[in-house]
Structures are given as C-alpha cells and as structure tokens.
C-alpha cells in the first residue's frame, strides 16, 4: 500500500516537473517587451569579462535611443554559436542579428542562410567602410552582411635591442633580406644556447600562408576564381621559411615555442625575441605586462624592393540570419553597431580595428603616446591588408592546403612537389 502511494507520488512529481519545465515557454518566446517594443535577438560570442561589458554598453546606448526597438543580447560560446545558428535557420526561428566570420559570407549567401540586405543599403552607407572589407560581404551584386571589426599584421620590434646590436631603432627592416640580416645581428648566443633570437617568421600571429601571399604580391591561393597555389614565389617563400628553421635549429625553435602560449611569458615582451609579428591588439599585452619595453611597429617587410608590404586580415560581420522575424528592426541596430558611434566605442575600449573608416580615424587621432603610434600604424596598414574570403566554388579549401604546408615545413615533401599536390587536390574540390 505504502509503495503504491509512493509510486503515485512519484508520477505526480514528474508531472509537476514537466509542468515546471514548460512554464517559461510563453515569456521566453515573446517578441515584444511589456511596453510594446519589438525585441531584436542579438547573438554574439563576446562573453568574457572584458568584452561583454563593452558590447552591452553599445546595446544599452542603442536601446535608450529607441522608442520601438529593444535589443536583447545573448552570449553563446565561440564556435558553438554557429552550430546553433545553422540549426535555428533550418528550423526557421533564428536570431535577428548575429556576429559571424567575415571570410565566409558568400558561402552563407549561396546556401541561403543569411538575409539579403541590399534593400536597406545605399552607396553612401557602403562608403563608410574599408573597401577590402566591403568586398567580402557582397555576393553576386547583393549585400549580405555589414563588416564589424578586422585586424592586420604588423612587425613589432624591440628598440633597445636594435640599439644594442648597432641598428637604427627608427629604421625597421623593409625587405625580407633586411629582416634576415637584422635578425642575425640581433641574435645573442652563449655557446650553443640562444639568449635572444632576432626573429622567427612562424611565431606570433602569422603563418606560412601569410608569408606566401606576401611574397606573391598579395596574391592569395585563389585569385579571381583561378587557383594560384603552385606559383614560383610561393615556393620561394616556403624555402625561405625552411631556411630559418635550418639556421636556428629545430630544437631551439621548439624549446622557445614551448614557453609561449600566454601573455605573461610572451617571448617578445620578455625580451627573448627581438622582432615579432602580431595583430594590433597585441599592444594591450605589451601595455599590461611589458611596461618598460621600448618598442616600435612597422609594416611587414616586403619580398623584395618592388613588391608590397602585404599583410593578411580577418574579422567579423553583423548579419541577419535567413528567416529572422524582424529584419527591418535588426537592420536599424546593425546600422548603429557599425556606425561611427558604436564602432568608435568598440575600438577605444577594445583597442580593436573596426570596419568604419570615420570611427577608425577618429580613434587614431584621439589616442596618445604608444597607443596612438600602434593604432595609427594598424589603420594605415589596412591599405596593404588583403582579405582571403573562401570562394563558393572551393568551400573549405584550407583543409586541403594546410596539411600539405605542414608536411613541407616538416621536410617530408619539397615545396615544389607539395604545392603541385595541393593545387591538384584543391582543383578536384571545385564545385560547379
């Protein structure tokens, strides 16, 4: 009898639980606030203690200025945010605005995962943004996203080390040849041990592919729909990279590498590496952990005197997922987010490069001291920064090139053979 009662009680409890689960259903799906404003769902991956307050302040500023729109921010973990986006687009109830990768906009446009924004945009709006960023959001003459932030790579160099090595601290290396020459002078060695390494091209925020495009006059792996993987300049770049490893020795490179991975022990900040390639926000690490470091910044050295100082860039865009409930209101918010005010706030607080030209230039002139020097350099460097968006015909082509490049750098295959193989692998990938 007792047990029967227990069973009954348990069943009742489940029902209670289930009822409790569904209690939130109506309020959570609400599309309007209590005072009748339209709710715009905004998904980002900015949940950290540093970024979240900044984006939420921008949202709060926007919300205060609006009578009919209320933006609701939802943080979703980096990477997983796009899994959720895809599922919700498929089910027809996505967010209204999402932050997404700048290099894959055309993929999402082709796959009908993102709304066409052309009707909300005119030429004067477009003119607010850096052209190389705007190009990435246009697919078949239609606009599918608005650029939000970006980055570029600079050469950070230790001025004190330059003086010590008898180099002019105001004259950073201009070409690869100079870079190598300076690096050798900056090396400090006792016996077989390096006390300081002048430079190593694969440390910092740069990889082999960036050096390959830098050598090839800024030409990416796929240029205007044509493959440009197996080129003489790209092979030469790989030989050059292998040369550095050979000179310093595999063991030296690996021992140094093992010490990286975090701000406090960054070898450039610690004075153990004299030149270092990184993005603009690397400055914040120098500011926080390397107060006494005397440093300068310069564009990446060029392959030779005739080629450009090409750097590679990335970034994020704001877009409206396909099937969003309130595209018009969403676009209003995107205009604020990517407008001068929102962008300036983001840039000042995050020391990040933004897509809006007016905002970027305002920040560059408002900052002072080292902050201004670095920020100004990154803004100028955007002129020689290239984006390499993934073409629709070659989705995921990186996955074919990267393993080959890894094998080339490990010495398992020669640069010429490897690039030939990579080009033929990618050509098989082509989707009509």
């Amino acid at each position: 009898m007792d047990r029967k009662r227990n069973l009954l009680l348990a069943v009742l409890l489940f029902m209670g639980f289930l009822a409790g689960c569904s209690g939130n259903e109506n309020s959570a799906q609400a599309e309007k606030t209590e005072d009748g404003k339209v709710v715009v769902d905004f998904w980002t991956f900015w949940g950290s203690e540093t970024r979240r307050p900044i984006i939420e302040k921008i949202i709060a500023n926007f919300n205060e200025s609006q009578d009919d729109i209320h933006v609701k921010h939802t943080f979703l973990p980096w990477g997983d945010i796009w899994t959720k986006n895809l599922a919700s687009v498929a089910a027809g109830n996505p967010a209204d605005v999402i932050i997404n990768d700048i290099n894959t906009v055309s993929q999402r446009a082709e796959n009908q995962q993102v709304e066409d924004l052309s009707q909300y945009i005119d030429e004067s709006f477009e003119k607010q943004f850096y052209p190389h960023l705007w190009e990435t959001v246009v697919y078949q003459d239609k606009t599918y996203a608005v650029p939000f932030n970006t980055d570029t790579r600079l050469l950070f160099y230790n001025k004190a080390a330059f003086k010590e090595a008898g180099l002019d601290p105001e004259a950073p290396p201009q070409t690869w040849e100079e870079l190598e020459e300076y690096a050798k002078k900056l090396d400090v060695k006792t016996g077989n041990q390096y006390e300081r390494i002048g430079f190593y091209p694969l440390w910092g925020s740069i990889g082999a592919s960036s050096w390959m495009t830098n050598a090839d006059d800024g030409k990416g792996f796929i240029e205007n729909g044509k493959l440009a993987i197996d080129t003489p300049r790209k092979a030469e770049a790989l030989h050059w990279l292998l040369g550095w490893k050979e000179r310093l020795g595999e063991k030296t490179v690996q021992t140094y590498q093992a010490e990286f991975g975090s701000e406090q022990s960054n070898p450039f900040i610690a004075g153990k590496v004299a030149m270092w390639v990184d993005i603009g926000t690397f400055y914040t690490q120098i500011r926080d952990y390397g107060q006494d470091l005397e440093f300068g910044v310069a564009p990446l050295p060029s392959f030779d005197e005739d080629s450009g100082h090409w750097a590679e860039g990335g970034g994020f865009v704001a877009e409206i997922p396909k099937g969003a409930d309130h595209p018009e209101e969403a676009m209003e918010f995107i205009k604020y987010l990517t407008g001068p005010e929102g962008q300036k706030y983001w840039a000042m607080k995050n020391f990040d490069n933004v897509a809006n030209i007016e905002a970027a230039e305002a920040v560059a002139s408002e900052l002072t001291g080292d902050e201004q020097m670095v920020y100004q350099a990154t803004v100028e460097n955007l002129q020689q920064t290239k984006m390499f968006p993934v073409p629709v015909e070659y989705p995921d082509y990186h996955s074919r090139i990267n393993p080959v490049v890894d094998n080339i750098l490990l010495g398992k295959i020669s640069p010429e053979e490897g690039l030939k193989k990579a080009e033929s692998d990618v050509s098989k990938l082509k989707r009509e």
């Binding site: 047990r3 069973l7 348990a10 489940f14 639980f17 289930l18 689960c21 569904s22 939130n24 259903e25 959570a28 799906q29 769902d41 991956f45 949940g47 950290s48 203690e49 970024r51 939802t74 943080f75 979703l76 973990p77 980096w78 997983d80 899994t83 959720k84 895809l86 599922a87 919700s88 498929a90 089910a91 027809g92 109830n93 093992a258 010490e259 991975g261 975090s262 701000e263 406090q264 022990s265 926000t281």
Partner: protein, 289 residues
Amino acid sequence: MKTASAHAFYKSKKFREKMKNTIVVFLLILGSVFVLAPLWWMISTSLKSPAEIAQYPPTFIPKEFHFSNYIEAWQTAPFTRWALNTLFIAVCGTIGAVFINSLVAYAFAKIRFKGRDTLFILVLSTMLIPGFVTMVPQYILFSKLGWLNTYLPLIVPAFLGSAFFIFLLRQFMMTIPNELIEAAYLDGASHLKIWWHIMLPLTKPALITVAIFSFNGAWNDLLGPLLYINDESMYTLQIGLQTFKGTVQTQWHYLMSMSVTVLLPVVLLFFFFQRYFIEGSNISSGTKG
C-alpha cells in the same frame, strides 16, 4: 628431506604469490597515476595565479594557493542559477531514464509476445544512427512543437527510452530466474506489480549504473542546452564553462577552478552510489544461489 622440500615449495609458492601481488599493485599504481594525473593537473592549475600557469617549466604543486580563484570564477556569471538549472535537468532526466528504460527492458526480458525479438532488434538498431545526423531534424521537430527555450527537449527524450539502457537492463534481467516471475504471476500479481516489487529491487545494480550514466550525460551535455536554450538565465554549467574560453585568450585559472566545482557533484554521486552498487550486487547473487 621431505618436509624441507615441501617447506621450500611452500616458500617458493608464497614467494611467487608475493611477486604476483607486487606486480599487480605496481600496475594498479601505474594505472592510477595515469588516471589521476589529469585530475591533479586540473586541481593544481585551479589554484595557481595566471602568471604561474604561464610559467615554464610548469610547477606541479602551486607555489601559492589562490583559493580565491574559486570564488572569483563563481562570481563572474550567474553560476548559482546555472547550477540549479543543470541539477534540475539532470535529476529529471535520470528519473526518466531509470524507470522508463527498466519498464521497457522488463517487457523485452520477461514477457513473451509476438514480434518481440524483431522489435528488440529494431530498438537496438537505433544505436547505429549517430546523434549528429538527427540533430537538425530533431531541432526542427522540437521547434514545431513550440518547445524551444524550455527544458522539455532536454528532459522528455529521457522518458522515451534509450536503446543502450534498454539493452543493458534487459541483459541483466535475463539472469533473473523466470520461476520467480511465474510464481508471482500465479499469485495474481500484474506485470506492473512484478516489475515494481520484484524486478526493480533485484536489478538495483544495473539501475544504478543507468542512473550514473544518464546523470553524468545530462550534467555534461553542452550541445543540447546550447541548441535549445535561448535565455541566458536558463543556461547550464557546461555553457557557463565556455565563457572562460575566449577568442584571443583563455582564463585557465577560472576555467579549471570552475571545472573542479562542476566535477565535484559527479564524483560525490559516484562514491555515494557505489555503496549501494555493492549492496545491490549482494541481493542479486543471493537470489541466484
């Protein structure tokens, strides 16, 4: 002579036994070190300062113990709320998994009906379909039911049976003698009554295994809550842990201290249930004898 050689034999056997024990203990210690090393690494990292985490070569024991990491990490986000949410989902799911699966398993193990074996194979075959294949269709289904942003998609499936648990429980129930069931049946007990009064108590060890598995699964699930929950106030601990992982840098000291905290209930639960697990084993061997 005879006794001496017997003595020597005894001695050598004892010696061999000792050797065997030493090897076994050595292997066990080695295994434990392998299993416990990551755990220790997590705990030690959780007590270090960010500067010490970055140090090379790394330290095995923190030089300074930063217990404040735990409090600070907990305070960076509404973790109390998220912990309660997770507990709620995991407890509901576990209750469902234990009772529903055992009921289904009872039918497959002890009731003869037409097409039983075919049906059982059909149930098992659902295990062949990987979760990622059904992810989007399932999401669309729950979205059409209007269950998004509720805990229903995370709990209700637990009440609808899981092939693996059904299989596990059925195999266990097969070992229970049919006479026991038949005797109860002859005494006029219904199947439901037999299940409740005979099967459940006798299959305790298997049920506890199912409970541990399903609690652990729900507690550690990231993708489910991530897909179905939109309100941050309804998030779970696993999503919360991701806040420490950024695009540029990861707050390892917070991530690890929070991971220890999140792991704690699972470990405690296991130790707590382990006692019952042994108790349960005794009952089942008792009936067999």
